[in-house]
């Protein structure tokens, strides 16, 4: 189990190194070239590459962050065992849901997001 978590932590870190870079570069580009929200959404809506990228990003976060928090909790507190693992599994699910929701929000062609 420990080895599996360790491997998941390292693999997700590798994905994050790539994804965070792309994410930041995209933000800088959008801000510096003064794209409006509408222009941004024009590029993200129904763009499967965009969706795939952000789903991967979100998945890596949902794996990486709880494992890191688990390590910190185990080093800095006496919290161990099943209750800790369950709590962090919940953190993982919440991160995943919030992230998927955000990615879908800019991908799905729903007019309400354009208001």
């Amino acid at each position: 189990m420990t080895a599996a978590l360790f491997i998941a932590q390292r693999l997700s870190a590798a994905v994050l190194a790539f994804a965070v870079t792309v994410h930041l570069a995209t933000i800088l580009y959008a801000v510096r070239t003064g794209l409006t929200a509408e222009e941004v959404l024009g590029r993200t809506r129904e763009n499967v590459w965009f969706l795939a990228f952000y789903l991967l990003f979100v998945l890596a976060i949902a794996i990486h962050a709880p494992i890191g928090l688990r390590n910190i909790a185990r080093e800095w507190t006496n919290w161990r065992g099943r209750s800790l693992d369950v709590a962090l599994a919940i953190v993982a699910v919440v991160l995943l849901l919030l992230g998927v929701r955000a990615a879908l929000a800019v991908y799905l062609p729903i007019a309400m997001y354009l208001r």
């Binding site: 080895a3 491997i7 390292r10």
Partner: protein
């Protein structure tokens, strides 16, 4: 250097609770920190407790915290350890239970070698006498070289005292035991790898290391437990992946 000069030394007295006691010790050229402690114990206060044996850096029994840094005191000159103000402060090793003054309880530390399966386990075939043969380990082979890099550990506990992860998690196997396990992972004659890799893959195992390098910085034998632990992490990953592929 004149012998009339005095060195001001503060020495921990007591166990977990205690206080520093001050002594003035005649300063001598090439004097080691262990010489200073011995002078105090022989000439000034016979109740001072400390531990040493070989005085030449082989036995690993004389380690203490010297001006905040863990060191082997028999091979640490006063001149390299004193601060600019010429003071010397001696404490027992960190991350160990203090028995009295400068002597610490080493049992848990040595038990971790056992827990990390840091001992030689012959192949099953060796139990059959007729199967026994001389096993050749070429000195230039990568595994022999990897084992060589960590084999000279004298069990002094300096790395254990320097490691923050040991301080945070008393179950952590620690740099010395993990380094020992790594030398055995590289021993081609050993038949106990499955149990060893299992032992170092647990929640107190190699993955807990933060790669701080404190152990590597302070090891008086120039061993790099950090790299040994990195090797164990690779071995742990290979084993886990090999398992899921099977």
């Amino acid at each position: 250097m004149s012998e009339s000069k005095l060195l001001h030394v503060e020495v921990w007295r007591g166990a977990a609770e205690g206080k520093f006691q001050s002594f003035d010790v005649p300063r001598r050229e090439h004097q080691t920190v262990l010489d200073v402690v011995t002078q105090i114990q022989r000439e000034q206060d016979a109740t001072l407790s400390y531990r040493f044996a070989c005085r030449v850096g082989m036995c690993g029994s004389c380690a203490m915290v010297v001006n905040g840094r863990p060191r082997w005191t028999c091979r640490t000159r006063v001149s390299t350890a004193v601060k600019a103000d010429g003071r010397l402060r001696l404490e027992p090793l960190k991350n160990f239970t203090v028995v009295k003054d400068l002597a610490v309880e080493m049992t848990d530390f040595f038990d971790k070698n056992r827990d990390a399966k840091g001992y030689f386990e012959p192949h099953k075939s060796w139990q059959d006498l007729s199967q026994r043969q001389f096993e050749i380990v070429p000195p230039a082979s990568p595994q022999r070289q990897a084992a060589d890099a960590g084999i000279e550990c004298i069990g002094c506990g300096v790395c254990h005292s320097a490691c923050d992860v040991v301080a945070w998690n008393e179950d952590y196997l620690g740099p010395a035991a993990l380094n020992r396990a790594w030398t055995l992972v590289n021993d081609v004659r050993d038949g106990g790898q499955e149990a060893r890799l299992g032992a170092i893959s647990g929640s107190a195992g190699c993955h807990a290391c933060h790669t701080h390098m404190n152990c590597t910085q302070f090891c008086p034998k120039g061993i790099a437990p950090t790299y040994s632990i990195a090797g164990l992490k690779r071995a742990m990953v290979s084993r886990a992946l090999g398992r899921s592929a099977r």
